[in-house]
Amino acid sequence: MPSSHNTDPPVDESEIKSSADHSTTKLEQMRFRRPLRLGIQFVIWTVVIAFFVDTVSAANGLTLSGGSRDELAIPQWLYLGTGGATVGASALLASFVTDRIFIRKIHEWNRPLLPVDRWEGVVTKVGRAVGVVILILTIYVGYMGPQLPNASFAILVTFAGGRAALPMVAYLIGNVWSILNPWRTIALVLPTGFQTYPSKIKRWPAVFGLLTLVWIEVIFPVSTVPTVLATAIVGYSVVTLAGAVVFGVDPWFENADPLAVLFGLYGAVAPIQRHNGTIQVKLPGSELTNAEILSDTSDIAFVIALIWELTFSGFITTSAGAGTVSTLVGIVPVELIPTTVQATVVYTVLFVVGFLVFFAAYWYAANLSRQWVGTYVSTETLRRSFAPSLLAIAAGYHFAHYAGLFISLSPALVMALQSPFTPPANPIVLTLPGWFGGLSIASILVGHLLAIGAAHAVSYKIFASRLVAIRSQYPFVLVMIGYTVISLWIISLPSAIPPFLQ
């Protein structure tokens, strides 16, 4: 158990500007509180694990195949093992890591990989060309090619590629979208910058854009009907290029383009980061302690939207979600309005209200945190500082939700990339073995752990006192546990096709 109290440099303690005092009584309390915290975490995880043993993992509505869905039973030993390891690991995290120098060292550890300038030109050119070619092919094949989702280059590239694989690359390796982004490449050769981007709207357009994209994905059959997808991409291209032309390439893609912002933020979780012209290797998630990642409330809203969109699209593809939607559509007493319109309203309201609830939970966590520790640090600063750690949760849940989809569709994706114009007579997919469900759960727990770790480090950055630092995290940790428990619950539910949608 920790001997770190003694090694903590007294300098830090004397620099404390917060109002928390350090009487021995408080330190005594702290000794009891830590076991209490571990106890609470242990109980929560045990309940979570006990509740979900013998359940099945979620799938996505994209694939035409529905038969393999209920084959993802998770072996009990794996569920228990993963959960147990997590409880143990979070216990270790909470008990060992109170040494602020150690924390700082962990989060600042990096190794330069290679300087950028030598190869950047070539890679950028190739990457941009690939991006533009794929965009053009996607639109063309979407309209002209086969209309079966599993055989469609457009659908496979967009969903197995853009929706599943690219974000995974972004948070597991590093953000490559900044190079691939075809709209940015096209905008670079257009005359741009006729207006100054209104700085007071910050990144709200990107938040709105992300929510709109997910809403379209839910309401319209973009993941099943290639022509609909191609139309959506054309629409997106028009808006994006118009925005970039009017406001300039960098202002648009840094603030208003949902995909560029999304990949940028997922990239913050990755072990490979770019700093001052050098590619560095860092520990995964350690970049999340960087307060510069998020600079405004709109950024926080975007991060919450990332978690919420995965939660929502996960939820509606489960039996519980489908049941909820059906029930809500059923209780609307309006007979004159067609069911599909009613269903659209229900989906939209659920989507918006859920996002507001998720956002409000985080918003008030910051208020609560400030009240508990009674600090001079503004609520706004607390909110911004802790929000990046949520990206690890989003990444974990994205992996849980999309890794299976990507692996399952990867043979079809490879075939589509090899011959975009002549699809195979019978596209091949992979079935996922039973243990894969365990991997999904593990990824959610790992994301949760990284988030807790990052929040821990952030609190030590902000507060000089260990006591205050630990107490300041409580509300945020509670919110994180809330998000994680909901995610775990969702992937444990049996899959269903969202009702009333095409």
């Binding site: 195949s65 529905g66 055989a151």
Partner: protein, 354 residues
């Protein structure tokens, strides 16, 4: 040296282990993306609208003038279907090497009556046999009654389909009496091109899927195997009732030479909505008059130019007040595509009173 050897050995192991084998070890398995398309939840035990209906394409039609029959060969995406043995059904999923679903149909050219027969299909490439198998008699909403199976072809290209048919097993009456007694064979050339397959229309029925009902058969050039409308059946209709969601129209003919100049009971079962014939059933009937059974026998599957495929038996003169009971001893032994696989299994007896 040892280290280098170890590396070399390791390298060759890695090289020999294919990615597929590796994935296989981990438990991933390849399968067709169309292995098991979505089924509506809460399917009724009746004919229902499937989640997806696919169009089919025509490879060719060929008449055999000597026999007065016409063959047709059609294609579609590889399909999932259910085979039926007795009252058991077995789901046949799409294999990863299935290239397409081949369908054949056979009918009397003049009357457009679809014939129940045993058809086998051999696919040849440059005169060399690629694959050969007996086709399943099948029921699908877009095609009606036909024969078909999923086939695996090595490549795109030119093929010949050799269709062979044995004599029609059902009893034949009227102008059909001396026909369809010979085995026949015909060849239809076709080009397998996946582009043609992908050009086939595919419709998602959305909220309608899972509801009771059926889409109309879509082929225009060829008969779907419909039975005549109730009003067009000869004789006196003594009843029409539903059993297992099939409609049974029962007709009584006092005397007709083609049925042996004796009173004839004709039972014409058909699908609801589209009146598709239901061959390959086992039916029997009883006639009870005043508490005593005056007729109890099986009904023989019979192919008649007017009735089409039906089940009949020579009963004595029926009298008013007689109770006719038709019992289904075996449901239609036909493979079913989506929308028909839950119907025509639990078929209670039908009772009508003259």
């Amino acid at each position: 040296m040892k280290r280098r050897d170890a590396i070399r050995a390791g390298g060759s192991i890695v090289a020999s282990a294919t990615l597929a084998g590796c994935l296989d070890t981990l438990g991933f398995q390849t399968q067709s993306a169309w292995r098991d398309p979505p089924l509506p939840s809460n399917r009724p035990d009746a004919v229902y609208y499937p989640a997806i209906v696919e169009e089919m394409g025509m490879y060719g039609m060929k008449e055999v003038p000597a026999e007065g029959v016409t063959f047709a060969l059609m294609f579609s995406y590889p399909h999932r279907f259910w085979t039926v043995t007795g009252t058991n059904k077995q789901r046949v999923v799409v294999n990863s090497d299935d290239s397409l679903h081949l369908m054949a149909s056979l009918w009397d050219t003049e009357s457009q009556t679809v014939l129940p027969a045993d058809i086998s299909l051999e696919v040849l490439n440059d005169g060399e046999s690629v694959t050969q198998r007996s086709l399943w008699p099948m029921l699908s909403q877009t095609m009606g009654f036909h024969y078909g199976d999923n086939f695996s072809l090595p490549d795109e290209g030119q093929y010949t389909a050799r269709l062979s048919v044995g004599p029609v097993q059902a009893r034949r009456t009227g102008s059909f009496e001396s026909r369809f007694e010979n085995s026949m064979e015909t060849e239809i050339d076709f080009e397998f091109d996946t582009t043609n397959t992908y050009n086939l229309d595919l419709r998602r029925l959305g909220t309608k899927s899972g509801e009771r009902g059926a889409v109309e058969p879509t082929m225009e050039e060829m008969p779907a195997g419909r039975t005549p409308m109730e009003s067009e059946l000869p004789g006196e209709i003594i009843g029409a009732a539903s059993s297992g969601d099939a409609t049974f129209v029962i007709s009584y003919i006092e005397t007709a030479s083609r049925f042996g100049d004796r009173s004839y009971l004709a039972v014409s079962p058909r699908t609801p909505y589209n009146r598709i014939m239901l061959p390959l059933m086992s039916l029997s009937a009883t006639v009870v008059r005043g508490g005593s059974t005056v007729f109890d026998d099986i009904l023989t599957e019979t192919l008649d130019p007017v009735f089409g495929d039906h089940y009949g038996g020579t009963v004595g003169q029926l009298q008013s007040g007689d109770t006719v009971t038709v019992t289904v001893d075996a449901p239609p032994q036909m493979s079913r595509h989506d929308g028909y696989e839950t119907a025509f299994f639990d078929m209670p007896p039908i009772e009508v009173t003259v």
